[in-house]
């Protein structure tokens, strides 16, 4: 394979046109092309170029830059990682990072027009301001305690105000015509009251409309919040959305014959919804030339290359390993914490799989239940198998690993 004198092992530069396919996804007027990334170590072996993992190069090329950071939203760029890694982060943030949410709702009284089931669902979706890291998972059948649950009560009744003016709107004539999340009351269990005295547990937002009532109607519901992940139900997802896009690149060919000038430049600047282009005059010649001023505003709408006489002069592409992440928190955790937790969860997954695999390959029976609980996704106590209904196997699964030839 390494047949040329220039084929030094570990050489990483490719000819220009191939380097372009490695780095960019091309966006054509009708379709994107060159979408597939090449992960195989020998993808460029014929050229004597290795595509194998190089941690030193990874360290050199990895760049993280924060664009904006508030409690509720974080936008940052990550350069030098591959799509599977970026996608793993996204999926873990959406589905595997825990929060607290209402899981059990016991209706004492509900004479409103909203059915119990619908109301219970609405209550479940209210983000709860509580740090999930301070709670354990609750396994079915286990009693609720201060370490695995949060108790809340909503008790509102709609009444006519004593001082009501007859023709005023309902919101003024009636007390509790609208039920808001701020009326949910936290009932501390055990030492919770002292522990969270500085930052009491409450819904993240005060003004979420839960129901509307007329005089005589009442809602009285007791709720229990437990820890969960978005995998089980979306109400436990800590993010409103978490998504990434690839860095857009807009190029106008530089050679003088193919510049976009005059009326064409004016049209181009006008039609771009992202206002990507500027017009500059070339000194001395009096020519007005279109230039790319704000490529990052490009949404890849492709308006500038769709049936246009200058379509060949513009090249749209995306950088394959440059991700712009947006994380929008529901408010229970700061957005940057969600990403850090996703990282920790991934490290925990890696550690668990590696430990089990090393134990298995040495032929040692690994203590599955003890090690499993160290991992994030498995930190529940008690015998889950009994409640799941799976028969307790008499064969230790780990024994199978000592015999690599089992079939």
């Amino acid at each position: 394979m390494e047949n040329g004198p220039s084929a030094a092992p570990g050489r990483r530069e490719l000819p220009e046109h191939l380097e372009r396919t490695r780095r960019h996804i091309e966006i054509g007027a009708t379709r994107p092309s060159n979408v597939e990334a090449r992960h195989a170590h020998d993808a460029y072996a014929a050229l004597g170029v290795t595509n194998a993992l190089d941690l030193a190069a990874f360290e050199r090329e990895l760049r993280v830059v924060v664009r904006s950071n508030t409690h509720d939203e974080l936008v940052f760029e990550m350069q030098g990682i591959d799509a599977p890694l970026a996608n793993a982060f996204r999926r873990i943030m959406l589905a595997e990072t825990p929060t607290m949410a209402v899981e059990h709702a016991t209706f004492v009284d509900n004479t409103s027009i909203i059915h119990d089931e619908i109301l219970a669902h609405r209550l479940g979706l209210i983000p709860i301001m509580a740090d999930p890291r301070e709670f354990d998972y609750h396994s079915p059948g286990e009693p609720f305690s201060e370490h695995n649950s949060i108790k809340m009560v909503l008790d509102v009744e709609c009444k006519v105000r004593a001082d009501a003016v007859p023709d005023a709107p309902a919101s003024q004539r009636f007390e509790n015509a609208s039920v808001y999340s701020r009326q949910i009351e936290w009932i501390p269990i055990g030492a919770q009251g002292d522990r969270y005295a500085d930052n009491p547990i409450r819904p993240v937002h005060d003004d979420i409309l839960i129901a509307q009532l007329v005089p005589g109607q009442r809602i009285h519901v007791e709720m229990v919040c437990i820890k969960g992940t978005g995998h089980m139900h979306a109400k436990w997802s800590p993010v409103a959305t978490a998504y990434y896009q690839l860095m857009p690149v807009v190029e106008i060919r530089a050679d003088s014959g193919s510049r976009i000038v005059g009326a064409h430049a004016q049209q181009l600047q006008k039609l771009c919804p992202g206002n990507v282009f500027d017009i500059e005059s070339v000194p001395g010649s009096g020519l007005a030339v279109a230039t790319v001023a704000r490529p990052q505003s490009c949404t890849m709408c492709r308006e500038c290359i769709r049936d246009k006489p200058w379509a060949d002069q513009i090249r749209l592409s995306r950088v394959r390993n440059h991700f712009i992440f947006s994380i929008e928190s529901t408010g229970a955790l700061p957005a940057y914490q969600i990403f850090l937790q996703a990282l920790e969860i991934m490290v925990a997954k890696c550690t668990e799989v590696k430990k089990k695999l090393e134990a298995a390959s040495r032929g040692l029976p690994s203590s599955s239940s003890a090690a499993a609980r160290t991992a994030q996704g498995a930190s529940r106590t008690g015998t889950a198998s009994a409640s799941i209904g799976a028969p307790l196997s008499t064969i230790d699964e780990d024994d199978d690993l000592t015999n690599p030839n089992r079939s």
Partner: protein, 126 residues
């Protein structure tokens, strides 16, 4: 709803089930199919990519056999073991995870640094 699968079933490993097991199909020591319990495309695609970057790996692929089966199968074939190398699919996977771990640690450092710098800049401007 009596026969609906339990929600947590997709996430929590039942007692007595090992997180990862493997077998060598056709008694070929250079090939292994790993069965990773309670994992999905998140880890599957990531490990596949990491394995493909390994010089000793000649095939890596994964699948989730069915959406209601909460495990993935990761198939790895390495170069035939020679007297020089002790490479096996198991060591390849361990190495892939070790590399991934290092990448994640580096990423964590860089991310915390970037966020810290952004927060410092924010408090300066007001």
């Amino acid at each position: 709803m009596a026969n609906a699968p339990e929600r947590f079933d997709a996430v929590f490993l039942p007692d007595g089930v090992s997180k990862i097991s493997y077998e060598h199909p056709m008694n070929d020591p250079s090939t292994a199919v790993f069965r990773i319990e309670r994992e999905d495309h998140t880890i599957g695609n990531l490990l596949r990519m990491q394995l493909l970057r390994d010089k000793n790996v000649i095939f890596a692929g994964y699948r989730q056999p069915h959406p209601l089966q909460h495990h993935i199968e990761l198939r790895v074939k390495v170069k035939q073991p020679s007297s020089l190398s002790e490479e096996s699919p198991v060591t390849a996977l361990i190495e892939a995870i070790t590399d991934l771990d290092q990448e994640l640690n580096l990423l964590q450092d860089r991310f915390q640094f970037a966020v810290g710098r952004a927060q410092a800049a924010q408090s300066e401007t007001g």
